[in-house]
Amino acid sequence: MEKQIKVNAIKNGTVIDHIAAGKALRVIDILNLKGNSSVMIGMNLHSNKIGKKDIIKIENRELSANEVNSISLIAPESKLIIIKNFKVISKSKLQIPDKLDHLIVCPNPNCITNLEKVKTKFKVVKKSPIVVRCLYCEKKYAADDVKVHI
C-alpha cells in the first residue's frame, strides 16, 4: 500500500524496479523520454531485498533492445516489468549481453571511434562487476566509467 502512495500504479507501460538506490537518474538519462509518456520516479524506497532501491514507471512505452542493454550495463540488478491494463504481463531480470554494439562511447580520446566515423563495439569481459573492453583500442573499463548513447 505504502508503495502505491509513493509511486502511482500505471495502466500500461514499463516498470524498471529494484534499481540500486541512486542510479535512477542515470537510467532516466539514457532513456529517450521526449514523447508523451508519463514518467514516475521513486528514489531511496524501502526494499526487503536490497535495503533501498529506486524505481521508474513509464506509461504507454516499451523499451527498445538498445535501451534494455544500456540499463543492463548501468543498473544490472534491476528488473523489467511489463504492465498491461494494470496487470503484470512479464517480469524479468536483466541479462547482460556478451557484446554491446553502437551503445557505449569509448572513454579513450585516442580511440579511432572518437576520431573517425566508426561505431563502437564493446565486449563484456566480466559480468560482476561489469567490465567492458573496446574492440578497437582494446582498453578495459568498468561499467560505471563509460557513457552510453542511444
Binding site: 585516442n110 580511440c111 579511432i112 576520431l115 583500442c137 582494446e138
Partner: protein, 300 residues
Amino acid sequence: MENLISMRDLSKEETLDILKNAENIEKGRSLPNLQGKLAALLFFEPSTRTQFSFDTAMKRMNGNTIIMSGSKHTSQQKGETFADTLKTIAQYSDIIIIRSPIEGSARFAAEVVDIPVVNAGDGSNQHPTQALLDLYSIKKTQGTLENLKIGLAGDLRFGRTVHSLAQALSNFNVEFEFISPSFLQMPKNIKEDLLDKNISFEESTEIEGNINDLDILYVTRIQKERFADPEDFEKVKNSYVLKKNMLDDVKNNFRIMHPLPRVNEIDTEVDNTKYAYYFTQAKNGVFTRQSIISMLLGEV
C-alpha cells in the same frame, strides 16, 4: 588467419605456426615466392626500423612495396575519409601493412578492405609483429617458450612493445620480473590479464641484483620526457642502465633483448658479450614478418 591485428586474436597454435614458418624460412626449408605481389606500407607515424623490416621481408620473397609515410601524403587533408583512403589503396595492393598513432585503426582497416591487413603498431595499443619476433627470438635462444623467467625493464607503463610481449607470453608457462620506476610500472589492466591466466610476476625498481635468475632480460628505454621533474629522472636513470659488470653472475643461457633503437640503457660494452642478442633480434624480425606476410597471402 585473415589479418594480424592483435595478439589477443591469436591462439597458441596459430602463434606457434607463425614461429615454425619463420624458422623454416630462416633455415631455407621454405622459400615463399611473392613475385607480382604488392604490399602497401601505410606509415602514418614515422618508424624507419619497422618500415625497413617489412620492406625487406617483402623484397626477400620477390614481392614489392608501395610506401606512404606520414599523413601529409594522404587525401585526408582534402577531406577524404580514412575508410575511403584505405579502400582506394586496397585496389592497388595485395596486402596492407599499417602503422598509425590512432588506437584501433588497424582493426578498422581490416573491416573496410577485403585484402589482408597487418597491424604495424596502433598508438599505445598493439604491435603484434614485434611481439611475434620477440617470441621467435626467445624460442631461438632458449629452445622453448615454456618454464622461462623473463625480465621486462624500463618504461613498462607506456611501452606498447612490453605490453604486447607480456600478452603474447601469457599463453605459455612463464614467470615475469617487472623492473621499472614505481610510476612507470606495468599497467593494472595488463597485470589483471596475467593473473587471470595464472601467470605470476614480481615487481622491482632496479636492474642490478634482479637479473641473476632470469633467462631473458628485455630492456626498453625510459624517456626523460615522461618525468614531470627532470631531477627525478637524474635520480633514477642509472638504475636502468645495463652495464657489463652486472652480468657476472647471470645464467649461462641468459640473453638480453631490446626492441631498438637503443639510446644509453644498455652500455655498448655489453654488445661484445655472448648475452647481447638485440641486433640478431632485429634480423629475426625479417624472418617473422616474411612468415606472417606469406601466411596471410596463402603463399607458404
